[in-house]
Every structure is written in structure tokens, then in C-alpha cells.
């Protein structure tokens, strides 16, 4: 079932109805194999042109002047000196006097100049007079009594209370309770390719090479913002360097770029620098909780009562699912969004889930410790019923076996010496369904094939799976297929978010190439003297099913097209993809208790994603997700100066990202579920890593660090605290 509504905990699709006409092959030759990316060689040799690599004749460089203040009113903007600076061809105010800026990095003015350096220098000649207003840098400051009210409807927005069961009865039934609070930091996307685009006008037609997760959505937004027909906009994203949920439109910088290009009468390239990127292109909101939870003497969860909050920056939300996965029959949860004068949040790889997973999985280990029960057995006891999208009961033992969970010591590594080792685990779930994609297939008389689809490849391998499915369906080698994506002139496909791309695109490619094959069969059947319905394509031939000798080589079949290529249009259909994934991760860490430095040594991942289209790209998603999770657990942190509200680490020096030596050994087991069809895997593998790592750190050092990132400072402070109180967990 492709579009079963996503019920949070248990979404049990009934046995899916496979597609009648073009079901996935029972014995595929390409699908599910370990296939290298079709664009790997040109990417690693630098030949692939990313938006940043597009240089148009006479092209200019755009730069944006951003507010240095986290909260201010614009009194005046003087563009005159900048407009006369060397090389400057266009200058504009983005905001007008009277307007307010709500965070450091908000766009104020912009210009385009002949070189990037000239643009940077000229930017500093734009004189902006600000009336600086009181600001709020952190959640704690926002919550403080007497804090300045900087947002129109207050600094705090209370959400609904989610309730189920009978909380009082739940706590009555509890033999143990845990009262604890957890917290996660603000994490920015840190896409290696920053946001931005190159815009070029031809009269009232705009072509834009954009680093985007949605070529069609970006086209729409350009048209709307610039008041031109969608037909006049073309968005191209042949290659892009990551978005993680932060790149669904032209954004302010795209619209500014188009306006500067119009004003200058020349193409303008405007890509953000790393500082802009950290400040203004989105982030994962912070989260914090106070939770009281109860468990019965036999290890069944009885009650969960949580107050949570977080900041998504200036006027943006911070919600996340809680409790996560495990069944608390009696529960209450209240959430508040706290607004701060910081760059607003955007969707980021599995929005909300890593936070919900962290709070819940930390709590689960604390409850297990109270019970003196193995945390894995405790988890399994409290899982929802098994279903195709809820396979943790099966996956936990598989992963535990591969990982060596049986060697886990109880909390606190008893080994002498400063290096303490520990193990932790956590589960994840995600939707990952998709639909609404169209495709166009041309079979040429020389046997070459073009498959066009207006999706985009974020770096995950979408182009490769388009080629795989086309070649599989037509029974030809992948070399004959040219997959063309990343252009809004191609047939519609949606934005690449929510792990929807593979389940949206794959069925469309399967159906469209199936239709093209049917059309070719109809062409060649009369010559073979058979009914087209008896023909199949395999191994580079079109032949009668069961009799490869009765047929034609692919190229000979295509020759029969004469002068005219065969062209068909198809689209996504039900029965080839589904929604709902589950997975588990185990982490092992080494903590040096004398320096506070934690290192993740191993991660074991068991994950499903329905039918695997390419084993390598699916594994690659897991690897990327886990590395991202290690970063979230240990390193990444948007640090705002508590006094001025300025980000002190808008770079990749103090905003830490794992390097090669910081990456653990990663063991991946993908659970193939071919009967379910294709499901996305972009998001789930990043959800559980931080929680598993944090639990492993607690298991190692015998003190629980209830917030991430787990810095040396926190480790040393927690150990010193334990020393003082003499307590354990």
C-alpha cells in the first residue's frame, strides 16, 4: 500500500497489492545488486558541474549584506558609495527603513560585481543605520523572568498537550520511576555545497542553476516571487552537494540573485559563504525535556509525563515526536516553542526524530538501570507489535548478535585504566513513501535510451537508480541508458524530502520504461510472427518468453523503429512502493576519563527500506546517516555568544565535523523487503546514532551525560560531579 496514512507507532500495511502490469521482477538482474554510481567517475574527477561551477559569459558575483545584529530596526540604508565601487553593476536594498531584522545574518542589502572580491569589498561600503533592539540569545534567557518580549505574540508559544490513558493509574502501577531531563543542541545542515544559484535572464525568461532539492518547486517559487509565468522559468540542478532538508526553494538569496541579474543585465552567481550558511540557511531546532516515567517491577512501561521545549530560532517551531517507538500506555506530553533571535530552523534529515529518539532512548536506559535489567531485553519487552514497518523485535537480536552485545558490561566499565568502553543501542522509524512523479522515455533507433525525469540527485544516487530501473525493465546494459534528471523542463517530480525520492521516482521509471518496452514489442511482434504479449526483454534481447532464440537482439529490434524514436510518457502508479521503515543501531565508544574525549569505535546498523534498488547507494545512505549521527552526538553545536547573540563558530573549525579518523567502523545489514516495493532510506539511518552513542558513553563511564554534544567538558564535569556526590547513575 503506497500511501497508507502514517500512524506514529504502528503502521501495519496489509499485504501490498503488487502492480498488475509492471510488478518488480522476481529475479532481477540489476535491481538490488551492488552497482556503482553512474556519475561517480565524473564527480571524483571534477568534471561534474555543480551550481558553483557554472560560469556564464560576462557573469557577475553577487553578495548579500546581512544584519550584524540579532534584533534591530533599520533606520536608513545608503547604497550610494557601494554603487560607485569598482566593478559593481547592481545594488539593491532587500529591506526598507522601518523593517526589523530578527536574527544575525538576516538579509539587508545586496550587490553584484565583476569579481567576488570586489563584491565583498563593495558590500562593506553599504551604510546601514540600525536601531538596535533587545534580543534573546538562548532558550534560558527567553525563559528568564523579565526577559524582553521580542516577538509579537510573545517569546513562548505553548503547544497542545498530547494525552493517552490514565497517568495517575500508570504511576500507581510503577515500581520504579525516573525523573530526568535531556537536551539536544541546535545543529546546522552544513551542506558541503552551500545554498545559492546562478541566474541568467533572456528577456523575460529566467534560467537558474540552483543547488536545490526541488527543481519544480523552485521554479514555482521563482515565478511567484518575480511575478512571471512558470513557463518562463527553467531551473537546472544536474549535480548538487547535499541539502538535508534545507534546500527546497530559491530562498531569499535566489530571488535576490535573479533581481540583481535583471538589474545588471548580466548573469549573476550568488552562493552563500560558510558563515552565511550557518547563520541563515536553517538548522535542526534544539530540544529539552523534563520527564517523569514509571516502570512496573516486571519491566513494563506504565507512565510517561513530559514537559518539553526547544528553539527553532526566530518565530519557528521546535516540535518532535515523544515518546518515541516504545509503548507507554499512560502518557502526557506538553511542548512549548521558544523563540530566540537566531536563524530559523528548517527541515533537517528526519526532522524531530533524532531528538525524540534521544530523549526516549536515554530514558529507556535509565529505566533499565533502575530495574537492573538488560536494556535490550527491556526495550524488546516494550515494543509495539511487529508489523512490516515495525520490525524491531526481529532486528534488535540480529544487530545484537552482529555487534556482540553479549559482551556488554553493566553500567560503568570496571576495567582499570583511563579508557572506558561502553555499548548502547537505539531504534528508529520513518515514513519514506512517495508518489506523484512523471517520466518520459525515448528509445532511439540505434538502441540507445533516454529516461527523463524532473527529479534531482542530492548526492544520494538518484540518477543511478533511474538508470538501473530503466535498464532492468528493458533488459539491456546500463551503458545504453542515459538518465537525465535535475531540470524543471523535464516531467514533474516532487521535492526530495522525507525520503520520498526513491519511492516516488522508482515506480514512475518502472512504469514508463515498461510502457516503452510494450510499444517496442508491438513494433517487432508482427515481424516475429508472434503476439506482442508473449514477448519479454532480457539479456539484451526481445524474445518469446522461455525461448530466447525466438527473438531479436535489442539493437536489431530498435532498428525497426526506422527514423522515428519511440517516445512514451508515464507516471507513478500504486503497487510499486510503500511507506514505513524501521531499524536499529548499536554503538560502541571509548571514553578517556582523564581527558573527557569520547571516540565512537563501532556502529552496527540493521535497517530496512522495502525493495532495495541499489545495495551500494542504500548502504551509502546508512554510512552518511551514521556519520551525521556521530557528529550530532559528539561534535556539532551552533554556539551563540550568550551576551551578544552572535554565533561564535560560523565555520568548520569550531563547528566540528568528524574527519576520517573520527569515523567509526560501520557494519550495515540491510533487510530486503521486496514484497513491499521501494521505500526511502535517506532519513532513518541518522535517527538512532546519537542516542546509541550517548547510551554507550553512560555505559562506559558510569555517569550519564544527558545532553549532546558529549564534549570533553561535559564528561569531565559529570565525572567530577559523581566524585563529589559519591553516587552512580
Amino acid at each position: 500500500m503506497a500511501d497508507t496514512p502514517q500512524v506514529p507507532e504502528v503502521n501495519a500495511p496489509s499485504r501490498p497489492q503488487p502492480h498488475e502490469k509492471y510488478p518488480w521482477p522476481a529475479e532481477p538482474t540489476l535491481v538490488g545488486k551492488r552497482i556503482q554510481r553512474v556519475d561517480g567517475p565524473i564527480k571524483v574527477t571534477g568534471q561534474a558541474k555543480y551550481s558553483y561551477d557554472i560560469n556564464r559569459p560576462g557573469g557577475l558575483h553577487g553578495r548579500i549584506l546581512r544584519s550584524p545584529h540579532p534584533h534591530a530596526r533599520i533606520v536608513a540604508i545608503d547604497l550610494s558609495a557601494a554603487s560607485k565601487a569598482p566593478g559593481v553593476k547592481a545594488v539593491m536594498a532587500v529591506l526598507q527603513p522601518g523593517a526589523k531584522v530578527m536574527f544575525q545574518g538576516e538579509e539587508v542589502a545586496a550587490l553584484a560585481a565583476a569579481t567576488e572580491e570586489q563584491a565583498d569589498d563593495a558590500l562593506r561600503l553599504i551604510k546601514v543605520q540600525y536601531e538596535v533592539l533587545p534580543h534573546i540569545a538562548t532558550e534560558a534567557l527567553a525563559l528568564r523572568e523579565g526577559a524582553p518580549q521580542v516577538f509579537k505574540d510573545g517569546n513562548i508559544k505553548a503547544g497542545d498537550t498530547e494525552e493517552a490513558g490514565d497517568l495517575e493509574a500508570g504511576f500507581k502501577a510503577a515500581a520504579h520511576t525516573v525523573l530526568a531531563g535531556y537536551a539536544t543542541q541546535v545543529q546546522t545542515h552544513v551542506s558541503l555545497e552551500t545554498h545559492g544559484c546562478v541566474c541568467e535572464w533572456d528577456g523575460d525568461k529566467l534560467t537558474s542553476w540552483v543547488s536545490t532539492q526541488a527543481v519544480h518547486g523552485t521554479r514555482e517559487q521563482f515565478a511567484k516571487a518575480l511575478d512571471i509565468p512558470q513557463a518562463n522559468v527553467r531551473v537546472i540542478t544536474e549535480y548538487m552537494g547535499g541539502g538535508f532538508g534545507s534546500k527546497f526553494g530559491p530562498d531569499a538569496q535566489g530571488i535576490i540573485c535573479a533581481k540583481l541579474a535583471k538589474q545588471a543585465g548580466a548573469a549573476v552567481k550568488l552562493l552563500l559563504d560558510r558563515k552565511d550558511e550557518h547563520l541563515a540557511s536553517g538548522n535542526r531546532p534544539s530540544s529539552a525535556s523534563k520527564i517523569k516515567a514509571g516502570v512496573s517491577a516486571d519491566g513494563m512501561l506504565t507512565a510517561f509525563d513530559a514537559e518539553t521545549w526547544g528553539t527553532g530560532g526566530a518565530g519557528a517551531g521546535s516540535g518532535f515526536p515523544l515518546p518515541y517507538i516504545y509503548v507507554f500506555p499512560n502518557r502526557r506530553r506538553k511542548h512549548r516553542d521558544i523563540f530566540t533571535n537566531a536563524g530559523p530552523q528548517r527541515a533537517m534529515r528526519a526532522p524531530g526524530h533524532p531528538q525524540g529518539c534521544f530523549h526516549t532512548e536515554m530514558l529507556m536506559d535509565e529505566l533499565a538501570d533502575k530495574l537492573r535489567m538488560d536494556p535490550l531485553a527491556f526495550r524488546i519487552k516494550n515494543l509495539p507489535p511487529e508489523a512490516p514497518n515495525a520490525m524491531w523485535r526481529k532486528y534488535f537480536p540480529i544487530a545484537a548478535e552482529r555487534f556482540g552485545w553479549s559482551k556488554r558490561h553493566v553500567t560503568g566499565d570496571p576495567t582499570p585504566g583511563p579508557i572506558k568502553r561502553g555499548m548502547g543501542c537505539a531504534a528508529n522509524r520513518w515514513g519514506g513513501g512517495g508518489q506523484g512523479t512523471k517520466a518520459h522515455c525515448e528509445i532511439n533507433p540505434d538502441g540507445s535510451v533516454v529516461m527523463r525525469c524532473g527529479t534531482q540527485d542530492l548526492g544520494v544516487g538518484t540518477k543511478t537508480i533511474v538508470a538501473i530501473i530503466t535498464a532492468e525493465t528493458l533488459g539491456i546494459p546500463m551503458e545504453l541508458v542515459r538518465a537525465e534528471i535535475g531540470d524543471s523542463n523535464y516531467p514533474f517530480s516532487g521535492g526530495s524530502g522525507g525520503s520520498t525520492t526513491a519511492p516516488g521516482v522508482s515506480p514512475a521509471i518502472r512504469v514508463t520504461s515498461g510502457m516503452a518496452l510494450d510499444a517496442l514489442k508491438a513494433k517487432v511482434a508482427p515481424g516475429l510472427g508472434v503476439d506482442a504479449a508473449t514477448l519479454v526483454a532480457s539479456n539484451g534481447r526481445i524474445h518469446v518468453k522461455g525461448d530466447p532464440s525466438k527473438g531479436l537482439a535489442w539493437r536489431d529490434a530498435c532498428k525497426q523503429l526506422g527514423m522515428e524514436p519511440l517516445a512514451v510518457d508515464g507516471q507513478w502508479e500504486r503497487g510499486l512502493s510503500a511507506s514505513g521503515t524501521s531499524g536499529v543501531q548499536f554503538a560502541e565508544v571509548e571514553v578517556d576519563i582523564e581527558t573527557g574525549v569520547s571516540k565512537v569505535t563501532r556502529v552496527t546498523c540493521v535497517q530496512d527500506c522495502g525493495l532495495i534498488v541499489d545495495q551500494l547507494t542504500a548502504e551509502s545512505q546508512c554510512i552518511g546517516g551514521i556519520i551525521g549521527g556521530v557528529n550530532y552526538a559528539l561534535f556539532e553545536d551552533r554556539i551563540l555568544d550568550r551576551v551578544t547573540g552572535h554565533m561564535v563558530n560560523p565555520n568548520m573549525e569550531w563547528y566540528r565535523i568528524a574527519g576520517p579518523s573520527d569515523i567509526p567502523t560501520i557494519d550495515i545489514t540491510l533487510m530486503n523487503q521486496p514484497e513491499r516495493g521501494v521505500i526511502g532510506i535517506g532519513e532513518p539511518p541518522t535517527i538512532s546514532t546519537a542516542a546509541a552513542v550517548a547510551n554507550a558513553v553512560a555505559n562506559a563511564i558510569g555517569a550519564r551525560i544527558r545532553s549532546i554534544p558529549i564534549t570533553p567538558e561535559k564528561v569531565i564535569t559529570a565525572l567530577a560531579e559523581r566524585e563529589k556526590t559519591g553516587g552512580t547513575l
Binding site: E117, V648, R656, G659, P660, P712, I716, T717
Partner: protein, 331 residues
């Protein structure tokens, strides 16, 4: 980046000539550029003229007798990979190996490593008009100071970022400097200046002068080691680093005749610890003595609001450096 003129000096003489009219910040030498380029892109440094100093001496000589000489333009990779240096001065080559990434070590130079500016995030970000930029306050005091100094009492609370300086001071190296008045040699231990003596730079070097060579005495009966604590193992700055050189008494028996102990990333200059040196003197080094030395070294530490943990890290780094110098296996 502000536009600048570039002087491609063919040798030391031309470089010095080009810098002879230099005033602070206006004319700057450029070697590997791994530090300076970033400062310029962030408009923290806005020189009018850059002078190429990659053609300064770049050789490394380690004679069996006498002084080792390292040219200022030698790269960190040259130092890290130099077999004879590694044999005689392991505390130095270990430190070089810990710098940045292979790419940075391939272009970053010895002179540049000594002359690099602090990594303090208030200094590096244009928004903060801090003491080092002529401003009125050190933002670290009230702000985010988890990586700032635990020694020195300000008024500026940077930590000195050089990886090579602690071992060079431990080995009692001298830094050779050339300028319009000719050459001079400065003890590495006095080359660096606290903020109260030089707020706008970190050393005694005049804007018209250049570091040309580092000269290191032959360590006789010296056991030395560097131990660096980093959070990330790839491409990160030290939380704390410690270099020690223990001169063992001639009589054998593992007794320390004298010691030099230097901590990095704890103060605005590489921080020599006389209390630790005193503690080690005359002792037979074991774990207990190393502990005592570490305690002595950090007894006077004055951490800020958010960097108290660095005291513990510094103790560990120093203890491990001492044990490593004795040949013990450390973590």
C-alpha cells in the same frame, strides 16, 4: 578580502627589503598562508602589501654534534617526516605531526606556526571588536570561554595556538630573527609576549623583522615528549598540549637533573611551568611523581566560567607527556 600588492621576494634579503618600511598589519609576510588567508578573507587582517617569504631558508640540518637548524620556510611535513629530527627531537616531530591536516602541514611552515595568530573565536569574527582589535573588552570573560586561557589573568584571554612552540621551548631552542638592524637570536621561551606587553601581536618580532631559522641545542641525556589532547582526531586544535624535556643525571638510575615543562593552549603564550620543573628536579620519575608535577603545574591555574575542565585535561596531558618521556607507554 581587501585588495593588496604582492612582492614576490626571491630571497631573504629581498623579503627584508620589502618589509623594511612595514608598520603593524600593513605589510605582512606570506608563507603557507593557511592562517593569513583566512584572516584576510574575514577582514580581520587587511594588509596593503604581502611579501612572499617562501624563499627563506627551508633546510633542516641535524648534525651529530652541535646545533640542529631548521629553516623558517621548512614545512610542517618536512619537520614531521624528518628521520634524524625524529630520532633526536621526538617531542618536536610529534607536535608537527599533530598539526591540522596533511594539506595544512604540506604548506604550513615552521615560521608560520610560530607567528600564527590566535584562534580565539572573538578575535576571528569581525563582529567582535575585542581588545586585540583595539576594542574595549575581552568578550570571552562574559561569554563562551570553553577553549580560552586558564593562566595569565587577561586582560585578553586567548590561548597561543602554536604546536611547535611548546617543544621548542622545552628543548631550549633559540629563534633566529633578521631585520633592518641585522640578525638577532632570541630564546624561544622569551619570544612570546603576554597581552599586557603586546596586545596586537603575540611575540617580540617587529613588523620589519622575519623569523629565519630555529636553532636547537643537542639534547644530552635528555628524554623529551609531547602529548596533545584533541577532541577530534582529524583536523582539530589542541584542548591542551604538553611538552617536557627531562635532563637525566649522568650517574644513571633515572634521576632527573633538570626539567623543562611547557603547556600549550592554556595561556596567551606557551606556558612554561617552573613549579612542575622544580617538582621533577632530583626525582626518579614514576606515576606518582608525574602526578605531583601535574598538580604543581596547575596549582595556580585560574580557569574562567566555562573552562574549568581544562585544568583536568592539562594535568592529564602533562602527566602523560612526562611518562611518555620516560619511555612508558601512555594512552
Amino acid at each position: 578580502m581587501k585588495a593588496f600588492a604582492y612582492v614576490n621576494a626571491a630571497n631573504q634579503q629581498e623579503a627584508l627589503a620589502a618589509l623594511s618600511t612595514a608598520t603593524r598589519g600593513r605589510r605582512l609576510p606570506l608563507a603557507g598562508g593557511t592562517d593569513l588567508l583566512g584572516l584576510m578573507k574575514d577582514y580581520v587582517a587587511e594588509p596593503d602589501v604581502l611579501v612572499n617569504v617562501k624563499n627563506l631558508p627551508a633546510g633542516i640540518a641535524v648534525p651529530a654534534q652541535g646545533l640542529a637548524v631548521i629553516g623558517a620556510a621548512a614545512t610542517l611535513t618536512d619537520v614531521a617526516d624528518h628521520a634524524a629530527l625524529a630520532k633526536t627531537y621526538p617531542a618536536l616531530t610529534d607536535a608537527a605531526r599533530g598539526v591540522g591536516t596533511p594539506q595544512i602541514r604540506n604548506v604550513g611552515t615552521v615560521g608560520g606556526n610560530l607567528m600564527q595568530r590566535p584562534r580565539c573565536w572573538y578575535f576571528r569574527n569581525e563582529e567582535f571588536h575585542c581588545l586585540k582589535k583595539g576594542g574595549a573588552r575581552c568578550f570571552a570573560v562574559e561569554g563562551e570561554n570553553q577553549y580560552h586561557a586558564i593562566f595569565g589573568d587577561g586582560p585578553c584571554h586567548i590561548v597561543h595556538p602554536s604546536s611547535l612552540a611548546p617543544p621548542l621551548i622545552a628543548y631550549n631552542a633559540r629563534i633566529k630573527v633578521a631585520g633592518p638592524q641585522g640578525e638577532r637570536e632570541i630564546e624561544a621561551g622569551t619570544f612570546f609576549l603576554m597581552p599586557d606587553r603586546n596586545m596586537f601581536g603575540e611575540t617580540v618580532l617587529e613588523p620589519t623583522e622575519l623569523v629565519t631559522e630555529v636553532v636547537i641545542p643537542t639534547p644530552r641525556n635528555v628524554s623529551a615528549a609531547t602529548y596533545e589532547v584533541k577532541f577530534k582526531q582529524s583536523h582539530d586544535w589542541s584542548i591542551v598540549t604538553a611538552s617536557v624535556a627531562l635532563r637525566m643525571s649522568g650517574g644513571g638510575g633515572g634521576v632527573v637533573e633538570s626539567a623543562r615543562v611547557v603547556l600549550g593552549a592554556v595561556a596567551p603564550v606557551p606556558w612554561r611551568s617552573l613549579p612542575a620543573e622544580q617538582m621533577l628536579k632530583g626525582k626518579r620519575v614514576d606515576e606518582a611523581v608525574a602526578w605531583q608535577a601535574a598538580e604543581a603545574a596547575l596549582a595556580d591555574a585560574r580557569p574562567m566560567s566555562g573552562n574549568g575542565y581544562k585544568v583536568q585535561v592539562a594535568k592529564t596531558a602533562l602527566r602523560r607527556a612526562i611518562m611518555k618521556a620516560t619511555g612508558a607507554k601512555v594512552v
